[in-house]
């Protein structure tokens, strides 16, 4: 069995949030040895719900369970001089640091990229923050909704006449994490290619903005500003109610408009008023009425099967419970069972994508708080058992 594709890469994960933890977890999933460093009281992630069986115990945060998968864990108090010295020792033994502190915070502790790079010239440091490290707003505070607002996506989500609508969940945080991991992998290869160490400055707002291709380019191409969907007449390509749920239908793929009309079992849709994109936009109110009426007699999984046969672009709105039991994800071994020391055996979403030679490997459950302190500080850095106890007493770890 070959090691993971990132085998041999050593990472320190200083982050307390979703973005940084997800970034470092992806590196761990694909073979990097990742050490999660938390403050002695535990990272903020441990206080975030949902919790396993609704028990708000610090080892039962489900965010912590999932996002620190495959990492080892130790505590460190960066607010103490001793903790700072420990970090400087650890930094010399790794390739990557992932951090998501407010811009300037690490510098204020003497642990900014320049200081760390002096200790480790080929260090890649991946910083993920809402606004980025520099610029007039870099000291401003971010939040999910602020990233969606300033990343343009809200300006075109929701309906006209109502407030712009945000994504559900923590999409911006995950976006920041995935971009951080991608940029880190690129820079790690760049090092093979002679680029040297890098400070990667990821801005979460800019990640959200990067998804806005048609929206951004509309202005410099034709002076236009995109809008949210119309309050009526634009249900097609959005979730539409059927007899037992919600479905989304789209033109394209291998199917003709006639195929779609057959799926709806409604010949009236063959009318020239609905024959192309612009006609459908102009006559959307009528078309939606006909479609919603037709769908009210049809079931989502029947439609799903028929659409697949006719090669129609079709989706149904699945709920988290349905996705947790999805046979397609099962076939791709997306979920893995992890045995966590406090939670026990539990199924977790694991595999972002499948590699042929270096497949995903589940190596550790999320560490309990300070689980690997002994291994890191005594076995790794060579502190005596007495000094190790002293570090704890000094509140440095």
């Amino acid at each position: 069995m070959p090691p993971g594709v990132l085998g041999g890469v050593k990472v320190l994960d200083l982050s307390e949030d979703i973005a940084g933890s997800f970034c470092a977890r992806l590196l761990a999933d694909y073979g990097a040895d990742v050490l999660k460093l938390e403050p002695p009281g535990g990272a903020a992630l441990r206080r975030m719900g949902p919790f396993h069986q609704d028990d708000p115990h610090p080892e039962k945060s489900l965010f912590n369970l999932v996002l620190n998968l495959n990492k080892k864990g130790a505590t460190i108090n960066l607010e103490t001089t001793t903790g700072q010295a420990l970090l400087k020792e650890l930094v010399q033994r790794v390739d990557v640091v992932v951090e998501t502190f407010h811009p300037g915070h690490l510098e204020s502790l003497g642990l900014g990229y320049d200081a760390l790079q002096e200790l480790n010239p080929s260090l890649v440091m991946t910083s993920i923050t809402p606004f980025g490290q520099e610029g007039p707003y870099s000291q401003y505070l971010g939040e999910e909704i602020v990233s969606y607002a300033m990343g343009m996506i809200m300006s075109i989500s929701g309906s006209q006449g109502r407030a712009p609508l945000k994504h559900g969940g923590f999409q911006a945080q995950y976006e920041g994490g995935l971009n951080g991991a991608a940029a880190t992998a690129i820079c790690l290869f760049g090092m093979e290619n002679g680029c040297g160490g890098q400070h990667i400055d990821v801005a979460i707002n800019d990640c959200v903005a990067s998804t806005m291709m048609a929206t951004q380019t509309m202005y410099p191409f034709m002076g236009g500003t995109q809008h949210r969907r119309r309050a009526t007449g634009q249900d097609f390509t959005y979730p539409m109610p059927c007899a037992d749920g919600w479905v989304i239908v789209q033109t394209g793929g291998g199917a003709s408009w006639e195929d779609i009309v057959n799926l709806f079992q409604e010949p009236e849709l063959l009318d020239s008023r609905f024959s192309n994109t612009d006609e459908r936009a102009l006559n959307g109110v009528e078309m939606d009425k006909i479609m919603v009426d037709a769908l009210s007699r049809l079931n989502k999984w029947d439609l799903f099967a028929k659409a697949a046969e006719a090669r129609i672009l079709f989706g149904l709105v699945q709920t988290p419970k349905e996705i947790a039991e999805c046979p397609q994800l099962e076939s791709r071994e997306f979920y893995r069972e992890v045995d966590h020391p406090v939670i026990g055996k539990i199924k977790v979403p694991a595999v972002l994508f499948n590699f042929s030679l270096c497949p995903y490997e589940l190596r550790h459950p999320a560490p309990t708080l300070g689980q690997h302190n002994q291994e890191i500080y005594v076995d790794g850095l060579g502190y005596s058992q007495e000094d190790f106890c002293r570090l704890r007493q000094l509140n440095a770890i």
Partner: protein, 451 residues
Amino acid sequence: MPQLPMEGIRVLDSTYVFALPYTGALLSDFGAEVIKIEGPAHPDTTRNSGLAGSYPEHDLGDDPWNRPSTYNLLHRGKQSLTLDMTDPRGRDLFRDMVRVSDVVMENFTPRVMRAWELDYPNLRKIKPDIIMISNTGFGHGGGPYSNNPAQATTLEGMHGHCWVTGYDGDGPNRVGASFVDFLSTWTALFAIGSALRYRSRTGQGQWADIAMYQAGVMFMSDYLMDAISNGRDGERIGNRHPYRAPQGCYPAQGDNEWIALSVGTDEQWQSLCKVLGREDLAQNARYADLLSRQRNHDELDKVIETWSAERDKYDMMHQLQGVGIPAGPVLTGKDVHFDPQYKSRGFLERVEYPEERGLGSRIFMGRPYKFSNTPLRIRGPAPTFGQDNERLLKELLGIKDDVYQGLVQDSITAEIPLAGNPVPRIPQERMVELGLMAAWDPEYRERLGLS
């Protein structure tokens, strides 16, 4: 100055629509040589469909397939080669290209590359250390949905995002852009960077099988765990937050102008009351802590709206952020071009086109990150259809002129697409009237200083 991270890497980008073409664009920014491959009768969807975005000055021009905004964003810095993969000669040329490349990307439904004998086991025989990236809706393999056609629009329902996105009390919704595409864009970058490093260490290539559905599901991890552990099935809470209040998107001064803000701590709540000029509320037990503010959120929304509707969205951001409250204006596709933070990060880049393209200069998004040691730039405009056919086939593959002329003759390669008609344009004013555009600014060229 060190070289760029991907310098010396050649990528065959045989991909369509949004997800992996965008990966190719970013790889070009990183210094790779990216060759976009399309069929003469199978031009990219972004060249002529509803996915094309906008046309320069809303004008289809003489070569509409080279002009759309989305095509030009997604293919910046690439070369263009057209090959008819449905013909054995086209596939042979593709194989010859693979022999001299490092990475191959494709996003056909799983059966296509298999039928052409261009799937990973076959490409590996030609080039043992090739790195291949496949992106499909549901992934390769024997799964029940593996052969279903899919695009981000329909996948957004499948991967659960629609279920948790929507106004409180309303049905499931979709966000305005094809969200899951970009998750594959970035996943592919991660896979390529990792696999290239592995290859440089071990000499071995590999195949990444990316499924957009699976990537989308990954971004729902917290909801999935709540379902698995607690049997909870997610819910729609509009613009609110599970453990912050008040949070929302409120009207600002002007037409369709908005501000988003989010209060998490009691201290932020006290500051908000001061900003609102409503110190009376700061003392009110109905809003004293997070739980009570969540219970009485509707009342707080009204108070905030009354204040926000009269004020400029940027002024409100500065005022709220000045007292430590996360807030930001809803920026439109126009606004970002004038935003000081995006400007200072150099997020938007100007690309100059050669005279004959008739596009002048245009502005495109760069990347959401900066590298300290190797500053990145968009390296050039998107190519015209088949622009590099002759040079690549002759110089890279050593094809003789008479053979090349035969390929042109038989439409194995072409410089004008043999299929695909642009959708006719609706006049700009009419688009605004119909709600297909929020606004139209005829002065955009002057405002942006476009040549």
